[in-house]
Amino acid sequence: MLKALVTMLAALWLIWMTDPVAAQSDVPPELQAQMPDAPTGRMAHVLQRGSLIVGVKDDYPPWGMRSETGELIGLEADLARDLAKRMGVGLELQAVSASNRITRVNQGIVDVVIATTGDTAERRKQVDVILPNYYSSGVVVYGRRDADLEGWDSLRGEKVCLNRGAFYNRVLEEDYGIDGQYFAANRDSQLALKQGRCVGWAFDDTALAQLIRAQGGAGDYEVMNDAILVSPWAVLVAQGEGQGDLGRFLSDMIGEWHAGGRILALQDQWGIPRSTYVEAAHETWQATKAGSPVCARNPATGQHPATCLGDNPVQGVPAADPPAWVAGLFETTGIDLRAVASPYNFNRLLRALWLTFSLSMIAIVGALVVGVSLSVLQVSLERLGRIGRLLTLPQRMLITVARMTPPILQLYIVFFGLGGILGNAQGFAPGSFAIASIILSLYAGATNTIILSHEMTSVSANGQPVLARLPGAITRGFDGLVATCVNIVKAAGMASAIAVSELVSTVDLLVSEGADTTTMMNGLLIFYFLFVLSILWVFRALRRRLVST
């Protein structure tokens, strides 16, 4: 019994010793991260909770991805595990995306983000960036071999798929002249590229090189050679935590990873070729002077030497002073339009406004036309008895499917499914705006059909011709029709899932790029309040006219 216990303890000791996390024996003590004696701030919160919540990617293999059983794994998940072990707490991983990672950490939903985040000057204003940086990537384009993508100049004016939330999107549009098609996730951009909705997909060279390797280099796709906008990656914590206990601990841990070659080892483990950036960082952090490590915190200042922390961050947005009135407005009222005052963002907002307006109008008219025509057809056919009812079957099925499938799924299925089939068969895939207009019209139109046909059959007007019943049916079902139309206007934001850059998604994007959250969200709230109010006003005027005739 005792012998078994001793053996077990010895085995545990061995595991403990060989565990790279517990003690990186080749890292000098000055560079080993220590837990603070009396933790405060977010660090204290994590210890009280007993687990560390880290946001990682789930679509960026092998940095962050799902295992076959659905767990989040990858190089960055391993780094997160190192942190939790050293802190002596459990680990909870949560999937984050490029467009929500900064919000999630600032809202306190996750404690730390390790999710391939490029370190830029704009992001340093939104969130606390932990230095040193731990990785690096540049931007390349992935496209069909036969598309002959040679140099960035060949992409000027071409449709290029982009992931929402990447810092370089704006530079690619403004400086490289590409026509960006925005998708929410890697898989959507990749699918859109496969279906020929863009000539290439601009994304991190790290991820795309890995994609090519996964295909064994024999696929139909290739990566364009010259990477641009190379930027280091940073670990993120909420604003105000960077200089606190948690931030200092993370900074020391990253230094220790570099000094001990932990990230290089993880690259080997995950089959990623060693990157020159990580090798250089390893060299920097390993350096000693007169026997002591160069990168250790200076006892006098408590800071790591600047040379160990990396270069200045990349500038994702050209620095420009806002017009005087915008600055004045901010100083006097706190309304912060500085980020949207640039011509690029202003034009984007204007285009989004126009798209939202036109999509809403088309959907309202479409929904009313569909509702009136299908309900008239249905009631007329039903009067023909059994055969007539049989004839209504196809349209009943259409109505059922259209109103009982979430529009967000309808958009995906038609855009990527049907659109792909049409595109492959005839070389013509309907545009995203057209698809969104049709789907939204049908979705709301199906509900309108139910309301109108119900009103047309339930009244005591059985002897009347079908068309004569319509005005009465519209009057009685008016509130319901208006509610459906208002709902479709509010739901138009979903169209962004298939690269229609309407208002809600554009505002979301501007916020993720550093525009002031309070101003933008309240602006959106006021816009919709007034927009729907004016739609209601038009409907009310229509009702008055309908009643008077």
Binding site: T69, A95, F416, S458, N487, K490
Partner: protein, 209 residues
């Protein structure tokens, strides 16, 4: 890989997806019932004709009705704390609660308007007012169930979010369409069940009238 090849694998996740769909139903039922009670109360106030109450109740309705649920979801996500401390231990606030709170608002706006119409029709002595209300309410219930599919935007653990997890697990887009079609069937079936239940109820209601 053809869409049908993906089917056996997708079907093997049915239990996990069903759990997610349970959350969709929870979000929809709670927001529909709470929103209807508050909305009808506001509608009654608007109908009662008290001058002092008319402006605030109309304003409340406008706010609830006019603001897209995405904006409300965002507000809920950032204003309601993500964790609460109870007796020294920290608990996460489930994201479905935030999604439900966000969806209560449009239901309030809808049922305030709809009940105002109902009270007006009743007062005018028009028949079928109750039935009209029930039919429109059922339509809106469906709309809210469909809207619950967007709750994954703030990370709520519902069926579309779970479907996306499985798609990511399979290594990308190989069965995105088949998966979404399968998830659609769940929504269509629940919609059919809901409408048949409502139809029975509204027939009883019209008999009472």
């Amino acid at each position: 890989m053809t869409p049908l090849d993906a089917l056996p694998e997708i079907l093997s996740h049915t239990g996990y997806l069903a759990g997610g769909f349970g959350i969709n139903m929870l979000i929809s039922v709670v927001s529909m019932s709470v929103g209807t009670v508050i909305g009808v109360a506001i509608g009654r106030l608007r109908h009662a004709g008290f001058r002092s109450l008319e402006v605030p109740s109309r304003f409340a309705t406008n706010i609830c009705r006019n603001v897209p649920s995405f904006v409300l979801l965002f507000y809920m996500a950032s204003m309601i704390p993500s964790e609460i401390t109870v007796a020294g231990s920290i608990h996460a606030v489930p994201l479905w609660i935030k999604a439900t709170l966000a969806l209560i608002f449009p239901v309030i706006g809808f049922s305030s308007d709809q009940s105002l119409g109902y009270f007006a029709q009743r007062e005018a002595g028009l028949s079928g007012a109750r039935e009209t209300f029930v039919v429109a309410w059922a339509q809106y219930f469906l709309i809210i169930i469909m809207a619950s599919a967007t709750a994954s935007v703030i990370g709520a653990d519902e069926i579309v979010g779970r479907a996306n997890t499985i798609i990511a697990q399979s290594g990308g887009n190989s069965f995105l369409i088949t998966m979404y079609l399968y998830v659609s069937i769940w929504f269509i079936l629940s919609g059919l069940i809901l409408t048949s239940v409502i139809r029975t109820v509204s027939q009883r209601v019209s008999k009472i009238e």
